[in-house]
């Protein structure tokens, strides 16, 4: 780091405090921050509350978290090791993401801590401007590095969590359910994006093969909207199922989807659609030759 050399370059060698330069300054200021830990931490908490950050946390949580963060912060300042820094940032993110903390809050509190500590350094060294400059030379890069790393790892951690959740949603998202012999249901819930539509095709065609299905009811009641490419994909999947000898019945088209499909001009002439899942199942049973009747003889479908 250049901070080892810069102070000695700007300060005359005859300066009596030159042994405090570089390496020696950081332990000194760490000692200062440790000594005034309670007061600085409280000041920091005050600033956090003033800025209306971390409002998702209770007072006890806030106190526990800030103590931990403060100690970690000072430790990283002291050791300056990248591993400790990354470990600290990851640890922090892991703890606070589940509590619904936003990115700007995390960056905000870390910057606030940096400012609070910087201010206490101003206070301590205000009588010696040259020394203050060198202290800040040592402190600022380290503090900025901490802020930077925390922000980056927080975002990374969030993205990891999002990816993980997307994966698990995807795994759960397209079950293929055999209802009767040769009859499958595919209920689809949630947004159908390109990737899910692709997965749906794989599941549907594979399901037709393994269950030897003749009729498949695809229920899209739970799908809020589709775009053109997904709609076309759906039509192609229906065609492909027909090539494998199965008929597909689409049920539960919402008014929005119906309007979208007609407006964007998807060719639906070959699609067999029925209003709701109940009607779809009745039609499927009719296609398969089932006649369902109630015990009391009062009809059925």
């Amino acid at each position: 780091m250049t901070r080892h050399e810069d102070p000695s370059a700007t300060v005359a060698p005859t300066d009596v405090r030159h042994e405090l330069d570089g390496e020696a300054l950081l332990p000194q200021l760490v000692a200062h921050l440790r000594e005034h830990r309670t007061r600085l931490r409280q000041e920091w908490v005050g600033r956090i509350q003033e800025a209306h950050l971390l409002q998702a946390m209770t007072a006890q949580e806030m106190s526990a978290e800030t103590t931990l963060v403060y100690d970690n912060y000072v430790e990283v300042l002291e050791t300056g090791s990248v591993e400790a820094l990354q470990h600290y940032a990851r640890d922090l993110s892991e703890r606070i993401i589940p509590r619904g903390v936003e990115t700007h809050e995390v960056v905000g509190i870390v910057l606030l801590l940096r400012d609070v500590l910087a201010r206490s350094l101003f206070e301590k060294y205000q009588r010696d401007f040259a020394l203050l400059n060198r202290v800040l030379d040592a402190y600022e890069p380290a503090a900025n590095r901490i802020a930077n790393t925390v922000a980056v790892s927080f975002v990374e951690e969030r993205e990891r969590v999002i990816r993980q959740q997307q994966d698990s949603i995807r795994e759960l998202s397209t079950p293929v359910l055999p209802v009767r012999e040769r009859l499958l249901i595919l209920p689809i819930i949630g947004v159908l994006d390109r990737e899910r539509a692709r997965q749906l095709t794989v599941q549907l065609l594979g399901g037709i093969r393994t269950h030897r299905a003749k009729v498949v009811v695809v229920d899209i009641t739970g799908v809020p909207d589709v775009d053109e490419s997904v709609a076309n994909h759906l039509v192609r999947t229906v065609d492909a199922s027909r090539l494998m000898g199965a008929s597909v019945i689409i049920t539960g088209l919402s008014p929005e989807i119906a309007q979208t499909l007609v407006t964007i001009g998807v060719d639906l002439s070959k699609m067999n659609t029925i209003g709701d899942l109940q009607g779809g199942l009745e039609e499927a049973e009719r296609l398969l030759g089932y006649a369902v009747s109630r015990d009391d003889g009062n009809g059925g479908p």
Partner: protein, 129 residues
């Protein structure tokens, strides 16, 4: 054109012919397949034909057009054609490339295809939905 071993078989099963393609056929072999099959429909007085393509992991546009043509020719010679065993990947790839089997009926496998023929011949063929 008629050289080399045949890569398909045409078997008689009651009033039906079962034509299995064993491996990917090139264009000349497809033509040979078409000729043999259309000829056999007449000589065996077949009422229905099942073409099994389960062994194929790819069906190009010429192959699917040939299959569709065979279906038409068979109809002209008095037989119903069912194509069976199209693999999931093949089915989707065909649709992606805008190919289909036209008016030829498809079924999952041989058993399904024979059942389909039974029902087609029991009742006059209805247009599929």
């Amino acid at each position: 054109m008629n050289g080399g071993p045949r890569l398909f078989s045409i078997l008689r099963q009651g009033p039906y012919l079962i034509a299995s393609i064993h491996t990917a056929l090139d264009d000349s072999q497809l033509v040979r397949f078409q000729q043999d099959l259309v000829e056999r429909i007449g000589s065996d007085r077949a009422r229905g034909v099942v073409i099994d393509v389960a062994a194929l992991d790819v069906l190009d546009s010429f192959a699917s057009r040939t299959l569709r043509d065979i279906g038409e020719m068979a109809r002209l010679r008095g037989a119903v054609t069912v194509i069976v065993g199209i693999q999931p990947d093949v089915a989707f790839a065909m649709v992606e490339l805008g190919m289909d089997t036209g008016r030829v009926v498809t079924a999952l496998d041989l058993e399904e295809g024979l059942a389909e023929l039974d029902s087609c011949l029991a009742a006059p063929p209805a247009p599929r939905t």
